[in-house]
């Protein structure tokens, strides 16, 4: 049963990401992306990480993507941008990226095929308590650094985002 859900979620994630990559309409692409994130959250849940799953939905799907929607709505309204996007994603542009991605996949595949990634037992569940304990003991310095990162994040976004007088 769990396996079945996993494969459903995985195929939803992959197919919606593919749709995102090739979509000309920004909002449709974004919706596909959100769907992909939700599917990934389901995968997290199935892998025994409910805390990460909840955060994936709250932060990624709920907050980060809303910001994207916000900006898209501010910048890209109307069918003109969709047309332009169609022109930009012609066939020619895909060769190099797809080639690189294939190469990368081949590398991952090689790793898995040669047995570098193995698991004798299924996923083991790790609850929020354990995560919290490790996070605030072994990774305390990293947490502090992350808080240091967030502050310039706020300030930088504020500084860059405000409309200055000389701007048109």
């Amino acid at each position: 049963m769990m396996d079945f859900f996993f494969y459903v979620a995985a195929s939803v994630a992959i197919s919606s990401t593919v749709l995102f990559v090739i979509a000309p309409n920004a909002v449709h692409a974004l919706l596909n992306l959100i769907l992909s994130f939700l599917a990934i959250a389901v995968i997290f849940l199935l892998l025994g990480a409910p805390f990460a799953a909840a955060l994936e939905v709250i932060i990624y799907a709920g907050a980060v993507m809303v910001l994207f929607v916000f900006v898209i709505m501010m910048l890209q309204v109307g069918p003109k941008s969709v047309e332009q996007e169609r022109r930009w994603i012609g066939i020619r542009i895909w060769w190099v990226p797809v080639g690189l991605a294939m190469l990368l996949l081949a590398e991952v595949g090689t790793l898995i095929a040669t047995g570098a990634v193995t698991a004798e037992s299924g996923p083991r569940r790790v609850g929020p308590e354990e995560v919290g304990l490790v996070l605030l003991s072994r990774y305390l310095l990293a947490v502090e650094l992350a808080s240091l990162l967030l502050l310039p994040g706020i300030l930088g976004a504020y500084y860059l985002g405000r409309r200055r007088r000389e701007d048109p």
Partner: protein, 317 residues
């Protein structure tokens, strides 16, 4: 199988309650504003909502030609399904609960953050000015107030030591959390008003300036779903307030379910009363109030709670 029955019962009662709430609200508003509310259909107008529902169903389900069709259809569905899904983790009584998740509270927040999309997407897909402005406002408002809402209940989570809603209710055996978490409760309630974009925070649909905001272009049952979603949202936020701060089903003499609904209705009445009394602030006032008052207040609340728990141990409060 037991759960399936429960789900069906729950859905039925929720729809009925929301329909009734619409009538209750209109009657109460009429009463407070010294005019008649709906009083023609049925005794005291009680069947008004049913009549409205029939009217909405019978109307033409029209999609504007300039709209982005798939998104336009998707938007109202998002809000109703998100709210309904949230009820899955709400413990009405110790046993009456669909899914007793150990991350119950996070689950509710996850879904409520998704319901923000319905407004934004409706605003965008309608492809009209008023709807777009309404959608932008709505996204900014819900996005901001989501933050304070999450922060305001973290004090409760700390006191209860769990994200599971049932544990939180049981932790209020001796003292409801609205006493030690006064500030948190206040912020939560304000944020709940903003999340359900009820008056005075109905800025995304402010009819005086934006016609009807994000659902300007909606009609028929699609509009009905927004309407329903709003009232379901009120019920959800009220029951959450009850669970987090007012001791949930706990109370003497009466059975738990009755206590739960009694408290929930009291909170819903407060929602209505606020709608009847307060004027609508300007949009920038709302956002500034959130980031400059509510955010520091909730952080401070969190800090003080943490310090007290750290120094006195878990049973201090």
């Amino acid at each position: 199988m037991n759960e399936l029955v429960l789900i069906v019962l729950l859905l039925g009662s929720l729809f009925t309650i929301s329909a009734l709430l619409i009538w209750v609200e209109r009657r109460l508003l009429g009463h407070w504003q010294e005019r008649y509310g709906p009083n023609r259909v049925g005794p005291g107008g009680i069947l008004q909502s049913a009549a409205d529902a029939i009217k909405l169903l019978a109307k033409e389900d029209w999609t504007p030609p300039f709209a982005d069709k798939p998104v336009f259809v998707l938007a109202p569905a998002v809000v109703v399904s998100a709210v309904l899904l949230s009820f899955a983790v709400v413990p009405f009584t110790p046993s009456l609960i669909v899914a007793d998740l150990n991350i119950g509270l996070l689950f509710v927040f996850a879904l409520s953050s998704l319901s923000a999309y319905s407004i934004v997407l409706a605003g965008w897909a309608s492809n009209s000015k008023y709807a777009l402005i309404g959608g932008l406002r709505g996204s900014a408002q819900m996005f901001s107030y989501e933050v304070f809402m999450g922060l305001s209940v973290m004090g409760v989570v700390m006191l209860a030591g769990s994200f599971r809603l049932r544990d939180i209710v049981e932790a209020q055996q001796d003292l409801w959390f609205c006493i030690p978490q006064m500030i948190g409760a206040g912020i939560f309630f304000i944020a709940a008003l903003a999340e359900t974009h009820r008056l005075p925070f109905d800025i995304p649909e402010a009819e005086a300036e934006l016609v009807a905001g994000y659902h300007t272009e909606y009609s028929g049952m699609k509009f009905g779903m927004f309407f329903l979603g709003e009232y379901l949202g009120i019920v959800l936020m009220s029951s959450l307030t009850v669970i987090l701060f007012l001791g949930g089903w706990q109370g003497p003499w009466l059975p738990p379910l009755v206590w739960f609904w009694l408290k929930t209705f009291m909170v819903i009445m407060v929602f209505f009363l606020i709608r009847a009394t307060l004027p609508r602030p300007r949009f920038d006032q709302l956002i500034t109030f959130g980031w400059t008052v509510l955010l520091p207040a909730s952080l401070l609340n969190l800090l003080v709670t943490a310090i007290i728990i750290l120094t006195n141990g878990h049973d201090a409060l």
